[in-house]
């Protein structure tokens, strides 16, 4: 968050005087571009579902199939972000604390899910975890099915969300003051105790940020999920897929209702995360 560091303009005037030229035209261009590319399209999303009134929107959103999809998308996103919070912290810890062969390669690899197109990740994950894949194959005789089940959805969301936690936590671990930890050593704290009561509180805000980013990405994730999900209505059908299905049925208002519900629920969730962060800041964690 750079947002927090941006100074507010003084009261009274809406902008601080500057001798730098070009403020008006540039701001005008930025606002025009944002309006055309973001605000007007969003206005359509907000306005469109209400064609058949509140009952139409509520009727769509409370259809069992829609409710199941929303529950699945949000539930799986929370679960994946929670798993990633633990494993991402471990990966970030290992990458910053230990010197081992291949560390730089592993570090560079963390970013890959950011750059890999989701459709490519999707078919690759479906293959690896499918019945003939490197992981799915050996598991199949044991009766464990990952691809084409809800477990597959979780696997995909964990894979795309991992970098968000690692890259949020890593700078904090890297900049951690060595003397604080040495003080804990002098006071007799063992390694495990130091990690839990000295380092963990310091990285907690970054963990929350990473959780929020991973969650936001996972809720709306489409490409990496649909190939591995199985897409059974009511069981393994995610909300973004349901939007696509409704569009293919020419139910634009229905699709917009689901889209609007997703947007509202995500904002609610992210607002809750922000409140947690505020509470943490008040309690004196960084």
């Amino acid at each position: 968050m750079t947002t927090a560091t941006i100074a507010a303009a003084p009261r009274g005037r809406w902008r601080e005087a500057s001798i730098l030229p070009g403020f008006g035209p540039t701001l005008g261009f930025v606002l025009l571009y944002l309006s055309l590319m973001l605000l007007i399209p969003l206005a359509a999303l907000v306005a469109r579902p209400w064609a058949s009134g509140w009952d139409g929107v509520w009727g769509t959103v409370t259809q069992p199939r829609v409710l199941a999809a929303l529950r699945l998308s949000f539930g799986a996103a929370v679960a994946a972000a929670a798993i990633n919070t633990v494993m991402g912290l471990l990966v970030a810890w290992v990458l910053t604390r230990y010197d081992f062969p291949g560390r730089r390669l592993a570090d560079a690899m963390v970013d890959l899910p950011f750059a890999l197109p989701t459709a490519v990740a999707g078919i690759a994950l479906a293959t690896v975890y499918g019945p003939h894949g490197w992981i799915g194959g050996p598991l199949a005789p044991l009766g464990v099915k990952i691809a084409y089940t809800r477990l597959g959805i979780l696997v995909a969301l964990v894979a795309v969300g991992l970098p968000f936690i690692v890259r949020s936590v890593q700078p904090v671990l890297q900049d951690f003051d060595a003397e604080v930890e040495e003080a804990a050593v002098t006071l007799g704290a063992r390694a495990w105790r130091r990690a839990v009561s000295v380092v963990l509180p310091a990285v907690a805000p970054a963990l929350v940020t990473g959780f929020a980013l991973a969650f936001a990405r996972a809720v709306g994730e489409y490409g990496s999920v649909i190939f591995i999900a199985g897409n059974m209505p009511g069981r393994s059908e995610i909300a973004p897929l349901l939007i696509v299905i409704k569009l293919n049925e020419f139910d634009d208002a229905g699709a917009a209702s689901v889209g609007l519900a997703m947007l509202v629920l995500s904002f609610g969730a992210l607002l809750a995360v922000n409140l947690v962060q505020l509470a943490m800041a008040r309690r004196g964690h960084r």
């Binding site: 750079t2 947002t3 560091t5 941006i6 303009a9 809406w14 601080e16 500057s18 001798i19 730098l20 403020f23 540039t26 261009f29 930025v30 944002l34 590319m37 973001l38 969003l42 359509a44 494993m87 290992v94 990458l95 910053t96 604390r97 010197d99 081992f100 291949g102 730089r104 592993a106 690899m109 890959l112 899910p113 750059a115 989701t118 459709a119 490519v120 078919i123 690759a124 293959t127 992981i135 964990v158 991992l162 890259r167 700078p171 900049d175 951690f176 003051d177 060595a178 994730e221 489409y222 490409g223 190939f227 939007i243 696509v244 569009l247 020419f250 634009d252 699709a255 889209g259 947007l263």
Partner: protein, 285 residues
Amino acid sequence: MRRVAPQRPSASAWILIAVALAWLGLAIGLPLATVFTEAFRRGAPAVLAAITDPDALAAIRLTLIVAAIAVPLNAIFGLAAAWVVTKFDFRGKSLLVSLIDLPFSMSPVVSGLVWVLLFGAEGWFGPLLEPLGISIIFSTSGIVLATILVTLPFVARELIPLMQSQGTDEELAAATLGAGGFSTFFRVTLPNIAWALLTGVLLCNARAMGEFGAVSVVSGHIRGLTNTMPLHVELLYNNYDFVGAFSVASLLAGLAVVTLVLKTVMERRFTGAAESDGRTLTRFR
């Protein structure tokens, strides 16, 4: 302040390292490797045949065209937005920054859906444009619009933190010495942010070429006409042409790997080798 230096791992630390590396392998390494092994399952000629198939070539061409329109537009927007946000003080600035970030927290499917709601047959403007013979949905323009929306924040996100930390001193000095707006921008600001701009363009391009969800909603999937590379991958995969799907996918995976390598190299350039290691913030999303 002194930082904790990476240590030689103790015996128990090796367990942690093994678990972390296994996790990275499961989530990232194996899927990446499988793209290439599946593509080359029947040898290089099959890969070449899949890539030079007319429909695949049409998809590659469309992907390049879409990126060639969307990326420069978002680069210009990113420059303008970063300039306004970091060089001037005005009310509503944090609202503006939040708006620029908004597409990051929208589902790609929703980023496509909004254009259908505007320009589809039942949309706000669709019926007005139809008599004029203009169709946006199921055509290149729709794909471009969806791609622009998804990749809107990339360049701005890359530039804002850097320009924030650089402040306005150099620009103010140039203005005091009588430089106009454009020469201040091109001769003072731009050289200071060239590497960050390039990184932003690179990331924006990777996402633009790889975007699937948003494009899928507006494209109509007309083979050889409105299929981009990711959509072509989906089509081949769903037709059980796995070698073909993974061949085209390996091009996209190659693009992702090259993007990451270039990004790492450029970040070393503009943050200094010692600093950049592991300090890459969440630049993509």
